[in-house]
């Protein structure tokens, strides 16, 4: 579904991404991990065409992303950014309905309204429908925003969902709920790309992991292939211990000190 070929990006003289290439199939969930400043957010911005690449090519469905119109792109991928402030009063239902904006001009079709109801149901926010978004807790707000971006691609099973650190600032229950919703989307055939900080969550929910360091790819592959002491040392400059644990397909990563 996504093909990234030799993508580099620089701002001024600073090289932020250096020759990144990978392929992702429909139904796969990719977790991008790496230290702060490794280029994760930039990669995500390039993938969702918020920023145009300096060199290299990105294809969605074998078509170069520059060739999509802004509306086609909106129906093919949705993005959950890291910071979501809403400047004016909106109810939860109105906000989720905004996810359907690429599909209607002034009035939503009955299909749009139905999708909004289904998505609110699936993300467990139906009981919040009439609430003012700004009065919700951080975890609830994040789920509402996720519902909005899911609604945007709900009837496009070929589409891609981009998440930028979706679990930031949430408690453990909400973190798992959000990632499980993302996982469910992948299971239904969507491609999911998420920036994550927690390596254990990345290994548990994602099919593929991409590790970035100073803009370079240092590993790409399944969690079992990629999550090892060497890669984690290299990417984060930390000592780690790997612990096998029953019920986990991949060893757990425990940080155990700072590399000097």
């Amino acid at each position: 579904m996504i093909s990234v070929q030799n993508v580099s990006h620089s701002v001024g003289k600073k090289q932020i991404l250096d020759n990144v290439s990978f392929e992702l199939r429909s139904g796969e969930m990719l977790a991008v991990i790496g230290a702060n400043g490794a280029g994760k957010s930039t990669l995500l911005k390039l993938l969702c065409r918020e920023v145009i690449t300096t060199s290299g090519n990105i294809y969605f469905d074998k078509k170069h992303i520059d060739l999509y119109s802004i509306k086609e792109l909106a129906q093919l991928r949705s993005v959950l950014p890291q910071h979501n402030t809403v400047s004016i009063l909106f109810t939860v239902k109105e906000l989720v309905l905004m996810g359907r904006y690429p599909y209607f001009e002034n009035h939503p079709s009955t299909n749009d309204v139905e999708i909004v109801h289904k998505v609110m149901n699936e993300t467990g926010i139906t009981h919040l429908a009439g609430r003012d978004y700004n009065t919700l807790s951080g975890g609830e707000q994040q789920r509402v925003q996720l519902a909005r971006v899911i609604a945007q691609i709900y009837d496009r099973p070929n589409a891609v969902l981009f998440l930028d650190e979706p679990t930031n600032g949430l408690d453990l229950l909400y973190q798992q709920q959000i990632l499980q919703l993302a996982r469910d989307m992948a299971n239904r055939g969507y491609t999911v790309v998420s920036i994550l900080h927690d390596i254990n969550f990345a290994a548990r929910y994602a099919d593929q992991i991409l590790i970035l360091k100073n803009g370079k790819m240092i590993a790409f592959g399944s969690p079992l292939e990629v999550v090892n002491c060497e890669n984690i040392h290299d990417a984060f400059n930390i000592k780690v211990k790997l612990i096998e644990c029953e019920g986990f397909k991949c060893p757990l990563v425990i940080p155990s000190g700072i590399l000097v």
Binding site: E50, A74, P81, N84, S87, I88, E94, Y101, E105, Q152
Partner: protein
């Protein structure tokens, strides 16, 4: 949800019609409702009976009606541009008067009066009004671009920068307008003073019909921006992800709202607070959906300014109160309340 939008807009329209009728009937020459009805039926050919005097129709057609209609379109223009600019700036305090757009328009209008020489001999004629409207529009447009540049940082409006820019531009425009008064002749001076006061007193069929197109275009165009402005309230980047052409929306909203503000400044001077208070009332009552707030502001703004003008010309009759005093009396308490509630929100 959309049925209720229609219902709200219909009720507001009925209110507007009631205000218009009250406004054309009340004044030094009184016209009773029955007489108004008789005039209406007589001139539409429904009735042959004349229950009114010719003095009443003269007052109605050549004085009251143009003034009331001018108030209607200017109120609509100010409120709809306020509502749209607030959506664009993502801040409910963005009002043409407060953030300097009206002063920018005034300055350019004053420049036109002083340096537009021969054009201004024809003020009062339709070309004079056109020239004024275009000058005021240019002033409003340049100011809006400046304010947007200074106050919007990374897609977010910095509220202190917004209001301070407004203060600076207001002061600057005031100073320049003041300088211009020294360069102007007596007649030019009278014209400039008229703008700084803000009044519908100069209303005539000529002034009404000359600004009508400049206001009609924004009134018809801005409601189509509602969906995009809703999306922009989530953030410009987010709106882009949702398939909204953010830059195109920004350009259109700025051009259309400054056109409306410029046109109203050209004929009526600076009338503040309508663009601030009207959208705010609608948001408090019915929520922030721009699909309701934008057209609703136009209708309620029209009614509010007509009402304010009715008060301004009757309360101290036979003298007339500048309309700016009436809108400021009603508007400033709401403005202070809004600042306090914004500050509270930031400290939560």
């Amino acid at each position: 949800m959309f049925k209720s939008h229609k219902l709200i807009l219909s009720v507001l329209t009925l209110f507007l019609i009631a205000v218009i009728i009250a406004s054309v009937c009340i004044g030094a020459v009184r016209i009773s409702l029955a007489q108004f009805w008789s005039i209406l039926t007589y001139y539409t050919g429904l009735s042959k009976e004349m229950l009114f005097t010719s003095q009443q129709t003269a007052v109605l057609f050549s004085l009251r009606l143009p003034r009331v209609l001018l108030g209607v379109i200017i109120g609509a223009a100010l409120a709809i541009s306020g509502a749209s600019l607030q959506g664009l700036f993502r801040n409910p305090l963005a009002e043409p008067g407060l953030i300097g757009i009206s002063s920018g328009a005034t300055l350019f209008a004053a420049l036109m009066i002083v340096f537009g020489g021969h054009l201004l001999n024809t003020i009062g004629s339709i070309y004079g009004y056109y020239a004024m409207a275009i000058a005021a529009f240019s002033g409003a447009f340049i100011t809006t671009l400046t304010v947007y540049r200074l106050a919007v940082y990374q897609g977010k409006t910095v509220i202190t920068a917004l209001l301070l820019t407004g203060i600076a531009i207001n002061a600057l425009a005031f100073a320049f307008t003041g300088l211009l008064t020294y360069l102007s002749t007596d007649e030019q001076l009278r014209n400039i003073t008229f703008w700084s006061l803000g009044s519908l007193g100069g209303a005539s069929w000529v002034s009404f019909s000359s600004v009508l197109p400049f206001i009609l275009i924004p009134l018809l165009g801005l409601p189509f921006m509602a969906k995009a402005l809703n999306a922009i309230s989530l953030g410009e980047v987010q709106a882009g992800h949702m398939g909204i052409h953010v830059n195109r929306t920004k350009r259109t909203v700025i051009i259309l709202s400054t056109m409306a503000v410029g046109a109203s400044v050209a004929v009526a001077g600076v009338i503040s607070f309508i663009g601030l208070v009207i959208p705010h009332i609608l948001r408090m009552a019915f929520g922030s959906d721009h699909r309701l707030v934008i057209p609703g502001s136009a209708i309620l703004g029209a009614a509010a300014l007509t009402l304010a003008d009715l008060i301004s010309r009757t309360i101290v009759a036979p003298a007339e109160l500048p309309i700016g005093i009436v809108t400021a009396l009603g508007g400033s308490p709401v403005f202070i309340y809004m600042i306090i509630s914004q500050l509270k929100k930031q400290h939560l």
